[in-house]
Symmetry: C2
Subunit: 119 residues, 2 copies
């Protein structure tokens, strides 16, 4: 986002603003942060994530992993053993995102925003 002097009245720079909003909405979905963090912390198997993100259902975990894969943040690798092993690992982009996320996470950790009900 560019930083022109405050001129209320002009629309927000669409190019950067929209991309940021899309990203925020994507990683702001329920459990996504935790799944991302689990990947960053070394989770690889489906069961790893399931254990490291307690409370998430299989359905949502599967969905979140697909979304993250679709966004190019994690990679799905199939190891043809018997039974097959599936590995989910952060991509370079995923690692980069985690880095970019650190200041926000640090900020959020210091400021105890509020309970889960924003409304």
């Amino acid at each position: 986002m560019k930083s022109s002097p405050p001129l209320p009245g002009d629309e927000l720079d669409p190019e950067a603003c929209i991309k940021s909003q899309v990203l925020l909405e994507a990683i702001g979905r329920r459990w996504t942060g935790a799944v991302l963090l689990a990947a960053h912390r070394g989770a690889t198997r489906f069961g790893d994530y399931r254990r490291m993100v307690p409370g998430i259902s299989d359905r949502l975990l599967s969905q979140r992993l697909k979304e993250l894969e679709h966004m190019g943040l994690i990679e799905r690798e199939v190891i043809p053993t018997t039974p097959v092993q599936i590995l989910y690992r952060p991509t370079k982009d995923g690692a980069g995102l985690m880095t970019a996320l650190q200041p926000l996470i640090a900020w959020g950790t210091r400021h105890f925003i509020l309970d889960g009900s924003p409304a």
Copy 2:
């Protein structure tokens, strides 16, 4: 979030993880990023936001402003003129969040994630 060696199997550090997830979900809601940015860019009046965030409805704008106020990220000030003026301005915390958000925004601007449909 702390960075211990990868030990898949233990739960994620709840203290920081949950806070981060709550924060991410809060600012990941639709329009929230844009509203926050508008505040950062100098919007103060309700109409300012309305113009700077094209597409948002009055209902959602009102709701987002309330949420951000509730989170302590913006302040609502009533100026008792006639008619009354209402000002919405970033708090110190809000400004701090924007700072913490910069790396993420920069990252998102460089990486053109995808269209709006993650599923």
